[in-house]
């Protein structure tokens, strides 16, 4: 297990390095000069001499060679100093990101927890009562669920809860109620996926010999499923959560835009449009760290539950 952990950890670091270099290069390829963008169209009417523009470039380190900028940036990333925003001069990027993280975290975590809490029992019921009415309904839901674009679900929820029923605010985050619809959107798609996987893998496990043995020795069906089948059936679910994590983050980017929530996703989209290098790089790096850590955790959890993985 220790060897496996070390190998996975090393791979994670390589992935991080790749992503950081790629992001850094991509950001330098963005068209436009951030100083000009900051001033607005055509310099925003402000006449600046070449020297003044150069001075600004120097002040933000935009004139340094790329590798110097990169090394400085990596050093800053690891010391938690994300630099200062170009678009909102003087505001530390760390502050902007820390303000936005809780919003994104609540939406994705709540969405995933609700999805797990509903989808796993639903998947179990659907698998144990195959071809029942519930099974059909659940299958239709999961087939439809993966075809629904999250931004459209979001719009339809606004129509239903804000326009027709007038229960919830359509946009913004003025109270906790602002979280309800975003969480519902994230949860819907995840439910569809998790339920489908749970159902499929449990059906497969129920056909295994050890399940027949457990039944043959007179174990109650509840015990057969609860203590034997479910443990094996949940293995693919763990993997899927790891894979789905990237989709959840993608989902929050969209959902935050639809509902105008001040989370990481909207900060990212806005910063890309404003060419705010520091913010975009920092967010991508942060996303990469999160993704690598989550994947490491899923792999390790998986290896912990299933000893066969460790041997490879």
């Amino acid at each position: 297990m220790a060897r496996y952990t070390v190998v996975r950890l090393a791979e994670g670091l390589v992935v991080l390095l790749l992503i950081s270099v790629a992001t850094f290069l991509i950001m330098r390829l963005l068209p436009g000069d951030p100083v000009m963008i900051l001033l607005g169209e055509g310099g925003g009417g402000i006449r600046m001499t070449e020297e003044q523009i150069e001075a600004i470039h120097r002040r933000w380190g935009l004139d340094d060679p790329w590798h110097v900028q990169y090394l400085l940036w990596v050093k800053n990333m690891f010391t938690g100093n994300f630099g200062k925003s170009i678009f909102r001069p003087g505001v530390p990027v760390r502050e902007m990101i820390f303000e936005a993280i809780p919003v994104t975290f609540i939406i994705s975590a709540a969405g995933l927890i609700i999805a797990l809490a509903l989808a796993i029992p639903m998947g179990i019921v659907a698998a144990t009562r195959r071809n029942s009415l519930f099974d059909y309904a659940a299958t239709i839901f999961s087939t439809l669920g993966v075809a629904l674009p999250n931004f459209w679900i979001a719009l339809m929820l606004i129509v239903l809860f804000s326009l027709v029923l007038k229960w919830l605010p359509p946009f913004g985050l003025h109270s906790w109620q602002g979280y309800i619809m975003p969480v519902m959107v994230i949860a819907t798609l995840q439910m569809a996926v998790i339920m489908r996987v749970t159902r499929g893998s449990l059906i497969e496990e129920l056909g295994e010999d050890y399940v027949r043995t457990a039944r043959a020795k007179g174990l109650a069906e509840r015990g057969v499923i609860g203590t034997h089948a479910i443990r094996n059936a949940l293995l693919p679910v763990v993997t899927v959560i790891g894979v789905q994590f990237a989709y959840i983050l993608s989902g929050t980017i969209i959902v935050e835009t639809v509902f105008a929530l001040p989370g990481i996703g909207r900060l990212f989209t806005d910063s890309v449009l404003h060419l705010d290098y520091q913010v975009v790089q920092s967010i991508v790096f942060l996303l990469a760290v999160i993704v690598v850590v989550v994947n490491l955790l899923t792999d390790l959890t998986y290896a912990l539950i299933d000893p066969r993985i460790r041997i490879e």
């Binding site: 993966v146 674009p149 459209w152 606004i158 967010i283």
Partner: protein, 304 residues
């Protein structure tokens, strides 16, 4: 087995033997399995209809999608204008029909790019193991683990949003799943007798890959592509929705949804039609993919 005759006509050289023992090609048996799945057949028909609609959009649409009817801003559906008007007074029904063009062009175009890259990466990684495999597999894992929307936003902003950008950007970011599946297939094919035999008689790598390996990975790839088109259509709509995909005034489903969001409290009907079209199209590709999987590759299970 009464249906075997009409199937037989699709293969010229096939002559049906005795009725009791119909020896049919793998392809015709796959077609039979596919036909048995009614949902997939309906889905396939829907997709064909959609393609026809997209190709002949010019003659199908009742109104010019760019014409602005004065005084009709946000007016709801009527018998003359089935889906009503958008926020500037353009006919939504016509815009949605034209939107299917964008969806299909991006869906098929980006899929092609993704398949080409994915198959190349997968075959290279699976066939030449060692460091190319490690490197390409890490790259694939990274791409799969990264929130793809973030990547799309970045790339679209760099290149500048347009139809071509959208196709290319989605294509170069969605190949990971193909690479992963093809690599796994190649790894198992490499150990099979016919490949070992080809190696033994001195066939070149090139010949083994193109003659022996590639034809055998096509079935799962076809299934994955069909399932992937839906995802790509959603990505295109998402990108256009964020303003980084297809640019107005070109009609696209994502773009119309974006207008729908802006005016959701005033004219909620704008967001309805494009959304329903996206759902139906994605659903159709997913169901067709499921049917193809059962038909072409009965052993294969869900790939998530």
């Amino acid at each position: 087995m009464g249906k075997s005759k009409e199937v037989a006509t699709s293969r010229e050289q096939f002559v049906p033997l005795a009725e009791e023992q119909p020896r049919r090609s793998e392809r015709s048996r796959a077609w039979c399995r596919f036909k048995a799945n009614r949902m997939s057949v309906i889905a396939g028909a829907f997709i064909i209809l959609l393609c026809l609609m997209a190709i002949f959009a010019d003659t199908v649409v009742p109104h010019d999608p760019l014409e602005i009817y004065s005084g009709k801003r946000g007016v709801g559906p009527s018998s003359e204008h089935l889906m009503g008007f958008d926020h500037v007074g353009r006919d939504l029904f016509s815009r949605v029909i034209y939107g299917s063009r964008v969806a299909l062009i991006v869906g098929l175009g980006a899929s092609s790019i993704a398949v080409i890259i994915g198959v190349m990466v997968g075959v290279t990684a699976g066939y030449f193991s060692g460091w190319p495999d490690s490197l390409l597999s890490r790259l694939t894992d990274t791409l799969m683990a990264f929130p793809i929307i973030a990547l799309l936003i970045l790339l679209a902003a760099i290149v500048g949003p347009s139809l071509v950008t959208t196709v290319v950007v989605i294509g170069v970011t969605s190949w990971a799943i193909y690479a992963r599946v093809v690599r796994a297939q190649v790894l198992s094919l490499k150990r099979q007798e016919f490949v070992v035999a080809a190696l033994a008689i001195g066939a070149s790598d090139r010949r083994i890959i193109f003659r022996h390996i590639l034809p055998n990975v096509m079935a799962p790839v076809i299934v994955l592509v069909t399932l992937g088109v839906g995802t790509i259509i959603i990505l295109e709509a998402a990108l256009s929705f964020l303003g980084l995909g297809i640019q107005p005034p070109t009609p696209s489903w994502g773009g119309t949804l974006s207008d729908g969001r802006a005016f959701i409290l005033l004219f909620p009907h704008i967001a309805m039609a494009p959304g329903i079209m996206i759902v139906l199209t994605v659903l159709a590709f997913n169901l067709l993919g499921d049917g193809l999987r059962d038909a072409l590759d009965p052993r294969q299970k869900d790939i998530t």
